[in-house]
């Protein structure tokens, strides 16, 4: 009787050790699943954690090649990565500009003036060729350009929250604080920042809480 138990025990040990020995192969097979077999992006489309803010860039070209570019960047990631870049003019999340006087315009003073002024239109140009409008509206700086020259009409709209512009210029003299600007941007609600439309390209840059483009 004792021998029978010994044999049974030995067999059990053999089976168990064989099973355990083979178990990493399962993990290997799982890990080696073809990349292409992953779910499609649409299936994975989810709204990320409540606090995550995503900057999206989408370029759609309507030419023969039909190029499409989609970039999704979590603002938190950009905020953490930018300070690690130390190249040329970028250091510690700040970009150096030669001086704040670009073409004899004191940018800092200009931003200060825009911040303190009330909502309104600063620049309005209307001609047969183009329309330009620069305005402050609901604490956003809005730049709208409509190029009507030729038949190839193009339209550019930039809408930047004033808080972001303030943060951008919050660094020392002759510096733009990109990290501060991104941080200020992350506090904003869903918004479209840049929209460019012409006869062959559509460019959109916007901010929301989704980790995928629409």
């Amino acid at each position: 009787m004792l021998d029978r138990y010994k044999v049974l025990l030995a067999r059990t040990a053999l089976v168990a050790s064989t099973a355990l020995f083979l178990s990493p192969l399962g993990a290997f097979a799982q890990a080696a699943a073809p990349a292409s077999s992953s779910q499609s992006s649409s299936e994975r489309a989810t709204t990320s954690a409540s606090k995550d803010r995503w900057l999206h860039v989408r370029v759609i070209s309507s030419d023969a090649k039909g190029e499409t570019v989609r970039v999704n960047v979590p603002l938190e990631l950009a905020e953490k990565v930018l300070p690690a870049i130390h190249q040329d003019r970028i250091h510690d999340g700040k970009v150096k500009i030669d001086n704040a006087h670009v073409n004899d315009v004191d940018l800092r003073a200009l931003v200060d003036a825009i911040r303190t002024t009330k909502d309104g239109e600063f620049v309005t140009v209307q001609s047969n060729d183009c329309e330009v409008r620069v305005a402050k509206q609901s604490n956003h700086l809005i730049v709208h350009v409509l190029d009507k020259e030729n038949s190839k009409r193009s339209e550019v709209e930039v809408k930047v929250p004033m808080k972001v512009i303030d943060a951008l210029f919050s660094a020392g003299k002759d510096e733009l604080d990109l990290v501060a600007a991104l941080h200020a941007l992350s506090a904003q609600g869903d918004t479209e920042l840049v929209s460019v439309k012409d006869h062959e390209n559509t460019v959109r840059v916007w901010l929301d809480s989704k980790n995928v483009t629409d």
Binding site: K6, V7, L9, A10, R11, A13, L14, A16, S17, T18, L20, F21, S23, P24, L25, A27, F28, A31, A32, A35, S36, S38, Q39, S41, R44, S48, A64, K65, G66, E67, T68, V69, R70, V71, N72, V73, P74, E76, L77, K80, V81, P83, A84, I85, H86, Q87, N211, V212
Partner: protein, 145 residues
């Protein structure tokens, strides 16, 4: 019979531990196919845990040389990888251009890069923790270290 069972358990146990350690971080998968005359075809599966281990056997001089070359990129890469871990299964870059497709995304805790073009296909799947380990090691052996 008992002796055989004990031997099997010992050998099996050793293999399991070694296998589990090696496979704990999955595998690095690299597939490169160049569709031209003399084009290379590389298909490589490497246990991810083996890479940081293998780095310990790379001569110090060579590693320092590599570290010097990537000195500026290492902190950036390290920061990116550290952050990417927070975003599993996310599409970061997607470019579709007629017959060329580029994807950069995370698949769980792995970084996946796919390039499909008529003349070449490149597919890379690498655990983020492995990239992090490698960048840490290269940073540690850099000139400033």
């Amino acid at each position: 019979m008992m002796l055989l069972a004990k031997a099997a358990l010992t050998v099996g146990g050793t293999f399991i531990l070694a296998g589990a350690y090696t496979m704990r971080e999955g595998v690095i998968r690299i597939d490169v196919d160049e569709y031209r005359t003399g084009g290379s075809h590389v298909h490589m599966w490497v246990p991810a845990a083996a890479v940081p281990m293998a780095l310990h056997f790379v001569p110090y001089k060579q590693l320092r040389h590599a570290s010097e070359h990537g000195r500026e990129a290492m902190p950036i890469l390290h920061a990116i990888v550290k952050e990417l871990k927070k975003y599993p299964d996310t599409e970061f870059v997607e470019v579709d251009d007629h017959d060329q497709h580029v994807r950069i995304r995370t698949q769980g805790t792995r970084l996946q890069i796919d390039v499909d073009a008529p003349d070449q296909k490149v597919h890379v799947l690498c655990p983020l923790s492995t990239i992090e380990d490698v960048t840490i090691q290269l940073e540690e052996r850099g000139p400033a270290a």
